[in-house]
């Protein structure tokens, strides 16, 4: 039996969800994910959060009604992994693209998936205005404090003193200011309906993150505004840490600048 067996093949071969006589398949990625190897570095949070989103899409049974907007950055290839209709936006413009999609198809679930460079730097204008209009979309904001795709430059969310390729002596707040807290910033807008910050640094955190993503999709049914789920992610390659060390860094350093929890809940 192949060790790379997909759930679908397993079902086909065995007529039930088990891979062979000895092992029963109890957990697998949802059928709404494309069964290919991902390009992400080992230990990267993107692959995990992609899966969480698609688990939610699976559980809500909304594959046919879901349209995703991809960013520019490491997760630019997100549409290679999600078996849903998707549009690739220009850098930072996902919220505007999502606006165009959702305004024409109000009955669909439209979400964007954006990193911190994409959303908090070049796309902060589109993000703020989309949320201020209360666009009925879900924005998933992956914050790992660094430009990953371009190999580790300083982002607006880079921590004070944090070393990156463009802040080789550590982020100097006198020159670049403090990391921008996007969730707190946009939570003030009346159009923001649900704002939460989660992470993936432990099994419990992953469960909470998934619940937040589930809420983010479900609350779109209320048609009351934008849902915003920030996920504090990691970047082993550019943080120059092992995946395990990145989890520790999230828990000990990242959450100081970016406190976890719900920032705005539906009334």
């Amino acid at each position: 039996m192949s060790d790379k067996i997909s759930p679908d093949t397993a079902v086909q071969l065995q007529g039930k969800t088990c891979v062979n006589d000895e092992y029963e398949m109890v957990y697998h990625k949802p059928a709404e994910m494309v069964d290919v190897a991902m390009h992400y570095c080992p230990g990267c949070a993107h692959s995990l959060v992609h899966k969480l989103i698609m688990e939610v899409v699976h559980e809500l049974g909304i594959q046919e009604k879901t349209i995703g907007i991809a960013p520019v950055g490491c997760s630019v290839f997100i549409y290679d992994y999600m078996d849903i209709d998707m549009q690739e936006a220009a850098h930072g413009r996902a919220a505007a693209v999502a606006t165009g999609v959702k305004r024409l198809m109000p009955g669909k679930y439209v979400f964007t998936y954006q990193g911190d460079g994409d959303l908090a730097a070049i796309g902060i204008g589109e993000t703020i205005h989309a949320i201020n209009r209360g666009e009925n979309i879900l924005i998933v904001f992956m914050n790992n404090a660094v430009y990953g795709m371009t190999s580790g430059q300083m982002a607006p969310t880079t921590l004070p003193g944090m070393h990156t390729t463009t802040s080789p002596y550590g982020r100097d707040t006198a020159m670049y200011g403090e990391p921008i807290k996007v969730s707190e910033l946009i939570a003030q807008l009346p159009g923001a309906y649900y704002v939460t910050r989660q992470t993936i640094s432990s099994a419990n955190a992953v469960r909470r993150c998934k619940k937040a993503l589930l809420n983010g999709f479900k609350y779109l049914d209320h048609h009351k505004g934008t849902c915003f789920v920030e996920v504090i992610g990691n970047c082993p390659s550019n943080w120059k840490m092992t995946p395990l060390e990145t989890m520790k860094f999230i828990d000990e350093e990242m959450v100081k600048a970016f406190p976890l929890g719900d920032i705005k809940l539906p009334k």
Partner: protein, 348 residues
């Protein structure tokens, strides 16, 4: 009607599902008209926070398969340039209107034709083309909306109407005829992955060089098809012409009067007006070149289309240029005098 209003009304009649725009002189009437009228027809109209946002909203709506447009004027089109490249790369049909004002920079709000290069040679990055239609009347401001949407859908390509501040602002009669709206199926659109069909992805990203080149070649084949099928122009008094004005849009209107002046003085002058700036009527210009002593290209810029005219005639006939800038429109007399001067220069 005003040119801008005729264009906006045509958008409604042509079945435009969504308009996204941002105010800028001299085209704000388009957004104003549609803000008032689109909701009455159950269509989407949205004032975006910038031209950058509006062109990306167009991208989203066009990607979802809807008839979508935006309009702006020169500095705003520069802001949209990124989006134009993405729209062309992702092959999304949509209509973009540039009511050209003088430039560069913030410049003047008066009419200009300085965006010819931007419209026909790129504007955004990469190897791409838009079909560019140049209206010379309020009637054409309306007519080209219908044509533009149809061509966009047919070729899965952005279409630009390149107008100018004078055609946008001037008032003329418009005839509205009953038209059938030719909306076509867009099976590639992101409408939600229903049933057994493959997922639809709208993208201009091809990370492998072989894939990128394949996409480039596909686009170029399409542009060549457009070059073959969609060249449009108007010719007036060309049969016996020895001298030819070549002008588009507003400047062609001035040349029309200058031609009358010249004819009244016994000069055999004709007018050639490119209607599509891409594809440009190179071949037709070459065909008429042998009978001519001189071509005079007249533009409201420092000389942009004249380069395409020269490319078209390949030295078969002398090509002269007359242009005014800054939003100043030459009088027909001035244009006639520039022709006389160019003829005089031929003798030296």
């Amino acid at each position: 009607m005003k040119g801008n209003e005729a264009l906006a009304e045509a958008a409604i009649q042509a079945g435009c599902d969504a308009y996204f725009g941002y105010p800028i002189t001299p085209q704000s009437e388009v957004l104003e008209y549609l803000a008032k009228e689109m909701p009455k027809h159950g269509r989407v109209v949205l004032q975006a926070e910038s031209e950058v946002a509006s062109i990306n909203m167009v991208y989203g709506a066009a990607g979802a398969g809807f008839r979508t447009m935006t309009s702006s004027s020169s500095p705003g089109i520069s802001l949209m340039a990124e989006g134009l490249s993405y729209l062309a790369g992702a092959e999304l049909p949509c209509l973009i209107v540039n009511v050209n004002r003088a430039g560069p920079g913030l410049a003047s709000i008066q009419p200009g034709q300085g965006d010819y290069f931007q419209a026909t040679k790129g504007g955004g990055h990469g190897d791409y083309r838009m079909i560019v239609l140049a209206p010379a009347s309020v009637q054409e401001m309306a007519d080209f909306v219908f044509l533009g949407f149809d061509l966009a859908d047919q070729y899965r390509n952005p279409v630009m109407i390149l107008s100018d501040g004078a055609v946008g602002q001037m008032m003329e009669k418009v005839t509205w005829c009953r038209r059938t709206i030719n909306k076509i199926d867009k099976p590639w659109a992101t409408t939600g992955k229903a049933g057994s069909r493959e997922r639809n992805i709208i993208t201009s990203l091809f990370i492998k060089p072989e894939d990128m080149e394949k996409h480039n070649l596909k686009l170029i084949a399409k542009y060549n098809e457009i070059r073959k099928n969609e060249v449009r122009y108007e010719e007036i008094n060309i049969e016996d012409a020895e001298y030819l004005f070549v002008a588009y849009g507003l400047s062609s209107r001035i040349c029309l009067k200058a031609m009358d002046i010249a004819r009244s003085k016994g000069l055999k002058v004709g007018l050639f007006r490119p209607i599509t700036l891409f594809p440009f009527p190179y071949t037709r210009l070459m065909e008429v070149a042998p009978q001519l002593k001189l071509m005079l290209t007249v533009e409201l810029n420092s000389g942009q289309m004249v380069e395409d005219v020269e490319l078209g005639v390949k030295g078969k006939v002398p090509v002269a240029f007359y242009g005014k800038m800054g939003g100043i429109m030459p009088t027909p007399d001035e244009v006639f005098q520039s022709l006389e001067k160019a003829i005089e220069n031929l003798k030296h």
